[in-house]
Amino acid sequence: MHELSIAKAIVDSCVGRAEGGRIVRIRVEVGQLAAVLPDSLQFCFEICAQGTAAEGAVLEILETPGLAICEACGESILLTSPFGRCACGGRLKIVAGQELKMKDMEIA
């Protein structure tokens, strides 16, 4: 349940920047290879937000797909787990899908 730490980091950072305003929406980007479960993050976020300026805020999770490039042939490959091999046998370099980022928030 590292999602709890991640949710807490989101709430702490956003509340610290809300300057006393009420946060109504937070947009985060979570890569599909980032080892974070969106459902679990939603659940933890609601708990962490209770009693803060982010209570009741919508957590909008933008999932970004995993993408790798073959180091041998240069082929782009979509990944759903953080490993794999190209059909040519080459090693894969992951270029997207590991994001764990706060985009913006809306304050009322």
């Binding site: 980091a9 950072s13 920047r17 974070v36 764990l100 913006d104 809306e106 304050i107």
Partner: protein
């Protein structure tokens, strides 16, 4: 308030004491990239608050942990300390490996230990019995160590110049993978009593490490564990992962691990 991190209380305890339990939250100076304009969202979100404004954040969610990890890394570098983050599932033998390592190498270079567990000081007591300095971090409900806990843990540790710092993470192959502690290397421990498909089941962990220790080699004749297959699986996930097999019980293979450590110990390199 804590000067290291500026944050407030957690349920983490270090050697039984709360980590700045009376602290209030303070987040220092914040840089809001607020454009001051009023945004109306004409998308389909049902919160049409005319006074709402959007604040751009654009930062890694774990940025604060990363920052503290880099601070730890600098702190270690300044003292020629080689810090290792040891991770495994519960019961793989991290503490047993450490006990034997300290007894065998303690004369060669100073070894200190940060013990991470949800509860109890059992592991710290085992390490203390070897004579090495040790601090127990209890994470309470937390399932992993983070850079903040490590920063406070080392404050209480008698860490000598040129020491090897063993940070024994909470037994868990999922959560610790995401949290940089400021370590110089990540060591994953597994044992032959676990499945040889473990690297495939926990790819994030196995991808993040530099060294894999496969422990309990003495039990290999008694269990259905395909060593070659396990190593193959580990390399499928992480082709650069070094693999050593050993038994903390009998001492078999420990030499390879010691040589790996010696090659990375600053004092030895300088000598």
């Amino acid at each position: 308030m804590c000067a290291t991190c500026g944050c407030g209380s957690t349920d983490t305890t270090i050697d039984g004491k709360k980590v700045h339990a009376d602290a209030t939250h303070s987040h220092g100076h914040e840089h809001d990239h607020d454009h001051g304009d009023r945004h109306h969202h004409d998308d389909d979100h049902h919160h049409h608050d005319t006074d709402s404004r959007t604040v751009s954040l654009e930062e890694d969610i774990l940025a604060k942990n990363q920052l503290l990890a880099e601070r730890n890394r600098g702190w270690f570098a300044g003292r020629d300390v080689f810090a290792l983050n040891l991770m495994s599932s519960p019961g793989a033998g991290k503490t047993s490996i450490l006990e034997r390592t300290i007894r065998d190498l303690g004369e060669e270079f100073p070894v200190a230990v940060l013990e991470g567990d949800q509860a109890t000081t059992a592991d710290a007591e085992r390490i203390r019995a070897t004579g090495a300095p040790v601090v127990q971090i209890n994470t309470g409900t937390g399932c992993h160590l983070d850079a903040h806990m490590v920063a406070h843990g080392v404050e209480r540790l008698d860490l000598k110049q040129g020491a090897v710092l063993m940070i024994e993470n909470v037994g868990n192959l999922v959560c610790p993978a995401l949290f940089d502690l400021g370590e110089g290397a990540r060591v994953i421990v597994m044992s032959v009593t676990e499945g040889d498909d473990k690297p495939l089941k926990y790819p994030h962990m196995f991808r993040s490490g530099q060294l894999l220790l496969i422990n309990k080699l003495d039990l290999l004749p008694h269990v259905r564990f395909d060593l070659a297959k396990c190593i193959g699986n580990a390399h499928e996930i992480n082709p650069d992962l070094e693999v050593l097999t050993l038994s903390a019980e009998t001492g078999e293979g420990m030499r390879g691990w010691y040589d790996w450590l010696r090659a990375r110990t600053p004092q030895r390199n300088a000598a």
